[in-house]
Symmetry: C2
Subunit: 230 residues, 2 copies
Amino acid sequence: MSGRLILTLSILGGTGKEGPGLAYRWAQAGYHVVIGSRTPEKAERVAAELNERLERELVVGMGNVEAAEACDIAVLTVPYNAHRDTLEGLKDQLQGKVLVDVTVPLVPPEVSVLKVPPSGSAAQEAQEILGEGVDVVAAFQNVSHVHLLEDHPVPCDVLVCGDHEGAREQVLELVRAARLVGWDAGPLANAIVVEGLTPVLIGINKRHGMKEAGIRITGHPPVEATGPDA
Amino acid sequence: MSGRLILTLSILGGTGKEGPGLAYRWAQAGYHVVIGSRTPEKAERVAAELNERLERELVVGMGNVEAAEACDIAVLTVPYNAHRDTLEGLKDQLQGKVLVDVTVPLVPPEVSVLKVPPSGSAAQEAQEILGEGVDVVAAFQNVSHVHLLEDHPVPCDVLVCGDHEGAREQVLELVRAARLVGWDAGPLANAIVVEGLTPVLIGINKRHGMKEAGIRITGHPPVEATGPDA
C-alpha cells in the first residue's frame, strides 16, 4: 500500500457491466479510479462516459497492464473465460497488492447452475495463479450492475472472503465507500458460496419472475452503509 | 405419495436441534408428524415435549426405520458425521419418497469454513446413496432452530434445491406450511451454495457480534409466508 493520501483503484477488465458501476460509486466517494481494458481506447471511452455521468473528470482509462501497475488496489471484473489469461498477464504488476476478484465461474448457456472450478472458486484460482505475494479477496459478485449505476440504496449486501483479515477489512471499507452493506464472510475457502450465490440468484430471477434478486444478511445489528443515499 | 388426505412427515434424527423446531411448525400446520431416532425412547420423549408445547397430541416418536417406513415425505436432520450411515440404513424404506436433506457438512471445530464433501454437498451425497428412486431436496439448512420453536416470523428465507421440479414444489409447500419464505434455488448441484451459507453465517455471527444471522432474498415481489404469524 502506498503512503499517498488518496488510493488509486484500478478496475481491470472494467469496460463490461459491473466495472463501470463500481467505478461510478468509488469515484463519487473520492477515490482515484482507473478503468483498465485489453483495448486502451475502449477503457478511455468508458472513462469518458463515466465522467460525463459524474459531471467531473474523475476516471481515467488505460490498458490493463498500465492500470494494474498504477493502482494501490486492483479489482477484476472479467468474464470467467478471460479470468486465467488476464491474471497470468498481470501477475508481476499485482505483486504486493490486494486483488478484489468479482469473477463468477459461469459457463454459458447454463448460467443458473453452479459449475465448480478445479480450485473450488474463481477467487481461489486467482490466488493460485498470483501466488502469496497478492492478497486475493472475493467480493461484489452478487450485486446487479443495474443498481450500481443508479443512486438509490442497493438492495443487496456484499459478502467478503479472503485469507487475510487486513485485506478483508480494506475491501469492507471499499464496500462502504460504494454505499453498500458488507459482511466479513471469512477465508477464501468460503468464496465458492459467495460466487455460487450468483447462479442461484439468476435462477431465482427466472423461476420467480423477478429481475434483480439479491441477498440480505438478517439478524442484526447490521453494518450500515455510509454515504449520502444510504 | 399416498392418496391420504393428510400427509405424514417423518423427521429422521429428529431429536436434535433443528428437528423439533420443524416438527412444531408442521404439527401446527396440520400435518401428521413423526419424530424418528436411533433410540425410540428418545424420539418418544421429544414427541411428548412437543405435544406439551402444542397442547395437543399431534406428534409421535418412533425408531428411524419405522418412521421412514411410515412417512410420505422424510426430513433428515442428523449431524454430518451420521449422514451416510443413517441413509444407508434407511435406503429401502425411503424408495419412492421425497427426502428433504437439512444436513450441513460441518466438520467441528472449524464450523465457519466450508468443507466440500467429495460429492459436492451432503444432499448430492444423499442422492448417490439412495439412488434414483428417491427425490432428494436440500432445504432448511440456514434457519436457526432458535427461531423455529418460537411463534414469531422467522427472519431467514429458505432456499430449496433438487433435481425434480415437482419435489421442489412439494418442499416449497412445506416451507410455507412452516410459516417461512421459500425460493426455488434450482438443481441439486446448487446445494453446495445453500449448505455452504451455514458456515458463512456462523462466521458472520462470530465476526460481527451477532447470534442468529440469516439470509433474505431481495428484489421482489417476495413469496409471502402463509399462516397466522407471517
